[in-house]
């Protein structure tokens, strides 16, 4: 008997030790962008990416809006959505989430953050009962449930300090907030044991924000100072893949590169043939292979990411055809009459300026490639790399073109987000003069069409017009994210529906 007990004890002891010998379930993430603050009204987007904050709905890796804090939702009348909250959502401090908390968080976020006001289009929020909340929109809005999956619509508890700010967010996600250091912009989170869908496997996640230099991120992960990071330097993919200690994943994101005309309401881009000529002049494949070095895919002519249900996959797009481009320019009246290699019309030479910004390493290179490709068809372009917020000031220049990157179609996971911002003539972001009344009609109708299929069909029609018929903008390529992890970090499931990456609850260390 005692011998058996002894062996049992030994086995149990051995098991315990084996568990203790297992890998430490911690993760150190190196994040390129800064967060620089922690108040959830401003930063719940980042908190959402790192699984601390959640919204009423969420977006799944296959681009569907799925329940999160809310179990279900339906329309009540024309302009109100009723959300039925899950009855088992606990805040990180143990208290149960109620409709009042939802109203509190959203009202406060809208009060403190103008972006949330503009993005959610909410008129008012009413608490119906403990687990039901009514959200009334300014106009009948079929996109509201999708808008609640926007990172900045995260729900948090009221634990304001005396000055109204929140420095220790209490949210509902799989990881709970532990600490945030302002000076080094570092966030520490810990496992939420009571998470309603099961606790995550990692015990602790540390996120170091603001490691803006790609070389620093790469060297840090090679030396073991980081366990997970993204966007290593462009030329390093092969070398990192050959590194036995690291795992490299390259996956799709809802972002891309495109050319945007400074103005399509005046010369020279008011002529669709000129726009199409430029679209034909771009060698997309070469840009993906030689500049993005495989971290991307050539666009088929539609800037929306392949896989989205509302995407029109039958866009013809524009192939790389220099001759066709030259022909179109000629038909538009641009010919090289003085033999200087630059086309001209009515005495004006086609000399323009391309603008882009330096923070994304591929952009200045794409800009130079485009510069050279335009030269082939007789357009002389100067290339400038300046701060993004300043480029707007140059948008009135004759023939100005933005070489744009980080062009996100899913910041808010609804087709209205991208298509309205870019192509609705009354949208205040549309600053390049694109106006097509048919498109306007379709977009406004789609926003208030509650039948999903009908709605998506309307959006597909819009895409056909803006890309094939009007060539309003020139998509170049989709941007793929390069993720580098230590070999023993497993369980990462890419969620391309996010603008950036987000962690997965199933991640663990081997």
């Amino acid at each position: 008997m005692s011998l058996a007990a002894f062996f049992i004890a030994l086995i149990l002891f051995g098991c315990n030790n084996a568990l203790a010998d297992g890998a430490e379930q911690t993760l150190v993430v190196g994040e390129p962008w800064k967060m620089d603050g922690i108040d959830p009204a401003l930063k719940s987007y980042n908190l959402n990416n790192f699984l601390v904050a959640e919204g009423l709905t969420a977006i799944s890796p296959d681009f569907k809006i799925v329940p999160c804090i809310a179990d279900s939702w339906e329309t009540v009348g024309d302009d109100t959505w009723r959300f039925h909250l899950n009855n088992n959502v606990k805040f990180h401090d143990g208290s149960m989430l109620t409709a009042d908390d939802v109203k509190y968080a959203l009202d406060r976020s809208m009060e403190m953050n103008p972006d949330v006001v503009v993005s959610l289009n909410i008129k008012e929020i009413n608490v119906v009962d403990g687990l039901t909340v009514d959200i009334t929109t300014n106009t009948p809005d079929a996109s509201l449930p999708a808008r609640m999956a926007y990172g900045r619509a995260g729900i948090y508890k009221n634990n304001e300090q005396s000055d109204g700010s929140i420095s220790t967010p209490i949210c509902t996600g799989p990881f709970k907030f532990v600490s945030y250091d302002q000076a080094s912009d570092t966030l520490v989170t810990a496992k939420n044991e009571d998470y309603r869908n099961g606790a995550p496997l990692l015990d602790e996640v540390t996120v170091k924000f603001g490691i803006t230099d790609a070389n620093s991120r790469e060297m840090a992960i090679e030396k073991g100072e980081l366990d997970f990071t993204t966007e290593p330097p462009m030329g390093s993919t092969e070398r990192l893949q050959a590194n036995a200690d690291l795992n490299v994943t390259i996956h799709k994101l809802c972002q891309g590169y495109k050319l945007k005309f400074g103005s399509v309401a005046k010369a020279p881009y008011d002529d669709v043939m000129v726009r199409q000529a430029i679209a034909y002049a771009i060698d997309r494949k070469s840009i993906v292979d030689d500049i993005l070095l495989g971290r991307g895919a050539a666009s088929d002519g539609n800037a929306l990411t392949p896989g989205l249900e509302w995407r029109n996959n039958d866009i013809k797009g524009y192939s790389y055809d220099t001759e066709k481009a030259k022909e179109l320019l000629e038909n538009a009246g641009w010919k090289d009459t003085d033999g200087d290699g630059i086309v001209d019309k009515d005495g004006k030479s086609f000399k323009i300026t391309l603008y882009t910004w330096p923070e994304r390493p591929a952009l200045p290179l794409i800009e130079q490639a485009v510069q050279s490709e335009l030269k082939e068809i007789g357009i002389e372009a100067e290339a400038r790399v300046i701060d993004n917020s300043v480029i707007k000031e140059h948008s009135g220049e004759w023939g100005m073109i933005w070489v744009s990157g980080g062009d996100t179609c899913m910041m808010i996971p609804d087709p209205s987000y991208y298509l309205e911002k870019q192509f609705l003539s009354t949208d205040s972001t549309n600053d390049y003069g694109y106006k097509n009344s048919e498109v306007d009609e379709l977009l406004l109708k789609a926003r208030s069409t509650f039948d999903q299929d009908e709605r998506y069909d309307l959006y597909k029609q819009v895409q056909k017009i803006v890309y094939d018929d009007d060539c309003a903008q020139v998509p170049i390529a989709y941007h793929y994210l390069c993720v580098v992890m230590k070999k023993d970090v497993l369980g990462y499931i890419p969620n391309p529906a996010h603008h950036d990456y987000c962690l997965s609850t199933g991640m663990y260390r081997e």
Binding site: K208, G406, S428
Partner: protein, 323 residues
């Protein structure tokens, strides 16, 4: 007593002119950065509210921000607000983070101060002894090596040196960590990078200054009197050679502050230099002004310290013994 009075007067006059320059330069910077309400709202949108610098905020959002923060003021009223604020110790709020500029700066002062001090220390520890040796053994191989090395030191671009050092020590040899702000191991590479150019300058200066002093008559007289070489060197030459060296250290500290701008960015060192670069690219006007103000003030402090050391070193000014 009279001496103290005249120094005080001199100091006061310097102070007045200095303030004039300060006002002129900050005004110039202010005008140059032509703060328009739209621009400030734009910065706030991208960094605080939208949180993404690649996405253009909508006009609607810009309007909301402008109203919320009352940004529709004329340039003149903004400037007078800022000046009043400064006189009360309030440098305004950062556009990018909406935190007080003073807070942003003081948060990062220790990092820059540490880096600059250690770099100066390194340059002193390397530059002065080598300069001394080179001067004593003038025209020897050692002198030749030191002098040539020094010229290389002042010719090498510090950002390139930083990259090469990182490649060698952080990657290839795996001795030092790459990112972050921490203890000595994080400090050593940036400090060496910054210290190199200063060490080179100090070495050359020490050498030439010492050589010059050693040629002086009174040294020859002392030699004639029969004092040992070492005594001559330490008690007489060095003390007199120190004056230009001290001035140079003061100046070098200044160049160092300029150098930290690039070095801090490369090594992700959270100091003022990096704050300045980040705020310039974000067009975070109050922070830029605050940094310029602070750096200029640090200058003044430095010059003041250097000026007060003179009397202790120069026997002709102070009352120290000239044996």
């Amino acid at each position: 007593m009279l001496f103290a009075y005249s120094t005080l007067l001199k100091l006061l006059r310097r102070l007045c002119i200095f303030c004039l320059v300060l006002v002129a330069s900050t005004t110039l910077v202010f005008i140059m950065l032509h703060s328009l309400p739209g621009e400030r709202a734009e910065v706030m949108a991208r960094y605080i509210f939208l949180g993404n610098i690649e996405i253009s905020p909508s006009n609607e959002e810009i309007q909301l921000i402008t109203q919320k923060f009352d940004l529709d003021q004329s340039l003149l009223s903004q400037y007078s607000d800022w000046v009043t604020g400064v006189l009360h110790g309030d440098l305004g709020r950062s556009y990018k983070s909406n935190r007080p500029v003073l807070e942003e700066i003081t948060l990062r002062l220790p990092a820059t101060f540490t880096l600059a001090s250690v770099s100066v220390l390194i340059s002193l520890l390397i530059g002065i002894p080598l300069g001394l040796l080179a001067a004593i053994r003038q025209n020897s191989i050692l002198d030749y090596i030191c002098s040539t090395g020094a010229i290389f030191g002042i010719s090498i671009p510090n950002f390139w040196l930083a990259l090469m050092l990182i490649l060698t020590f952080s990657i290839a040899l795996d001795i030092t960590p790459v990112i972050g702000y921490g203890g000595a191991s994080h400090l050593i590479l940036p400090a060496i990078t910054l210290g190199t150019a200063s060490a080179a300058v100090l070495m050359r200066l020490t050498r030439s200054s010492l050589l010059e002093v050693m040629r002086q008559d009174y040294i020859r007289t002392a030699k004639g009197k029969g004092l040992a070489n070492r005594d001559i060197l330490i008690t007489h030459s060095l003390k007199n050679a120190l004056i230009p060296i001290i001035t140079m250290i003061g100046l070098e500290f200044g160049h160092l502050l300029g150098g930290t701008v690039i070095i801090e960015t490369i090594f992700a060192w959270p100091g003022i230099g990096r704050l300045l670069i980040d705020s310039i690219s974000a067009r975070d006007v109050p922070v830029i002004q605050g940094c310029v103000l602070f750096i200029t003030l640090m200058y003044m402090l430095l010059n003041f310290i250097v000026d007060s050391i003179y009397p202790m070193v120069d026997p002709r000014i102070g009352g120290s013994q000239f044996a």
